[in-house]
Symmetry: C2
Subunit: 336 residues, 2 copies
DNA sequence: GAACTGGTTGCAATCGATTTCAAAGCAGTG
DNA sequence: CACTGCTTTGAAATCGATTGCAACCAGTTC
């Protein structure tokens, strides 16, 4: 019954069903065009042989690969994991595989992109690193590329992202609403697009109060360093409300302060960005701006699928940030 | 100079170089067998046409796919992200792509496996979910499968994993060494292999002291629940040292206790498992058993590559756990 | 009965790279 | 000069599924 040795191919099924391989192929991909009786016979033969299609052959013939590649700056970051999760599911549902690659955050940044910018490697590319140079994106027959989370200034690539400016504004407005009049920012690298938008939103909201900007890079280490800088300031110059551009920085900032004997939110309020799952389960729970990560992945997947299948796509898909009010923000304590 | 319209193929390069396509193919894959002069001419033609190989065609001919699939139980978990990172790099270096898929933690668990258990989809599979049923693994012409992190009891699949039993032992021994005589365990699901090995190690080490086991599932919520259970115990019955089988549970446990007015490690010592990066940057910093995650990914990649390329592999690759001594463990306070 | 219709099916070409086999070229040797 | 041995190259088959085109059949219809 089962033909166990050396994998059945289309022709084998055809022989068993007494039809040509064209017909078998048709039953499998356009069942509606073949007569009921034949279809049944073929299906039986398929079952009997345990036939499974050879993807390489189909891909060669159809000129596609069946997979989409996600290029992330740093796979180790838990933030991306959740996004990939959403992406993976959406793509799987549409019959595509998700190939992940790391741009290795700096060094071979463009190599990774170039490697996949090839219609025989991927049907589409979801770029999540805003720092690759857009110079490679103009050759012909390239698979479609979109950006998610981050984006590339000046490139005409569809974007799927959070309204970062609004997020920045919300964070600062929250601190202002609590009564803070000196806001500290722990930002990202100056050239980073997320940094720039969040900074813009924050600045707009903080127009009439004092603003101190510290440079970071979204990592735990940067949060730690910012805390030490804060501690080193004369007390009168310390911002009473801190807005960190990532939860990791916010977390490390709080921890370093607590370890140095300060208390959050009594001595300083802190608000983060992203809403990584873990930060709501530590003490004190971090107040933060939430990015709908899984949703973002899902939407990015949908957009790349639209592009792959030739449908028109909006140049910009914007997600709304959400303020997660928790325990690290409070009105400033009155100065003695 | 550049032939920009419709992608050059082998035959185009051949025509330009004045040789046959066989020769071009040879220059590209076995350069040593072709004469220096010809090779040079071909290389020039390749450069001039901007030729890039068509992977589908090569894969069809060579009967391989060029990618390896990692099946993870839950892509959203930051723990896996780091492992995938290590895997991705190692595989990329060997010319393979990393395809990730989620087993969706329960529901369609086996579907994902079966979908990829197909030599035309993947050259190899790295299985990181110990709960798929091994029943599918015996058909012929299947790509090689190995397990990483978790494994399947009774299946003869190569394993790459931490010495979980030793990790469990180390954790408990650490608590014992501090003077704790009543140890609490926050475990995983009873059927989970990680749970079983860690439990075994822990039990061995705790032979002569009191041991209280709470069931969890590695998530933050489980840690939270365990904390509430601890709080609800009569004071004399509360374990003074807690060993949680994941950092997330440990974290949530600590946070819930702190929020309820307890202090860690004064009222209870807590040690976690995994050493997720974030837990060393919160206050109090979590004492934990470290798994070398990136290394584990890298090794798993190497093992699957060995299997793919037909080399012999060890049935078991065991990594050593490491005690990360931080701030959540201390000698028990004397009972009043 | 011829012509025409619409629904099914098969033939054969095709996708692009790899590889087997044999031929061609060339040098050295008896 | 014929022959052997070696390197280098090309022609053609191959991997397995898809699809344009043509053939075919059974009904209509005139």
């Amino acid at each position: 019954m089962e033909k166990l040795s050396s994998r059945a191919k289309l022709a084998d099924v055809a022989r068993l069903a007494g039809v040509s391989s064209s017909t078998v192929s048709r039953v499998l991909s356009h069942p509606e065009v073949v007569a009921e009786a034949t279809r049944q016979a073929v299906m039986d033969a398929v079952a009997a042989t345990g036939y499974r299609m050879n993807h390489a052959a189909r891909n060669l013939r159809k000129g596609r690969t069946g997979s989409v590649v996600a290029l992330v700056p740093n796979l180790g970051n838990p933030f991306f994991a959740k996004i990939l999760d959403g992406m993976g599911r959406e793509l799987a549902a549409a019959g595509y595989g998700l190939l992940v690659a790391d741009t290795l955050d700096g060094q071979g940044r463009d190599t990774a992109l170039v490697r996949f910018l090839d219609p025989s490697r991927a049907d589409g590319i979801i770029l999540m690193d805003g720092l690759v140079s857009s110079g490679h994106l103009d050759a012909p027959d390239q698979p479609p590329v979109i950006t998610a989370c981050e984006w590339i200034e000046g490139a005409a690539l569809p974007r799927v992202m959070l309204d970062n400016r609004e997020g920045g504004r919300m964070a600062v407005q929250h601190l202002l609403g609590l009564g803070h009049r000196h806001i500290g920012l722990i930002g990202g690298p100056a050239q980073n697009v997320l940094h720039r938008s969040r900074l813009q939103g924050a600045t707009e909201a903080a127009q009439h109060v004092r603003l101190t900007v510290m440079t970071g890079d979204f990592t735990l280490q940067a949060g730690h360093a910012a805390a030490q800088a804060w501690i080193a300031m004369p007390q009168a110059d310390r911002p009473t409300g801190i807005f960190a551009f990532s939860d990791e920085m916010a977390c490390a900032f709080v921890a370093t302060l607590v370890r140095a004997g300060f208390s959050v939110p009594r001595d300083v309020s802190v608000i983060g960005f992203d809403d990584i799952e873990l930060v709501s389960h530590i003490a004190p729970a971090l107040t933060t701006i939430r990015q709908p990560k899984r949703e973002l992945g899902r939407l990015a997947a949908r957009v790349i699928l639209d592009r792959i299948e030739g449908r028109e796509v909006q140049p910009l898909t914007l997600l709304e940030p959400l303020l997660m009010l928790r325990e690290t923000t409070a009105p400033p304590s009155p100065r003695p």
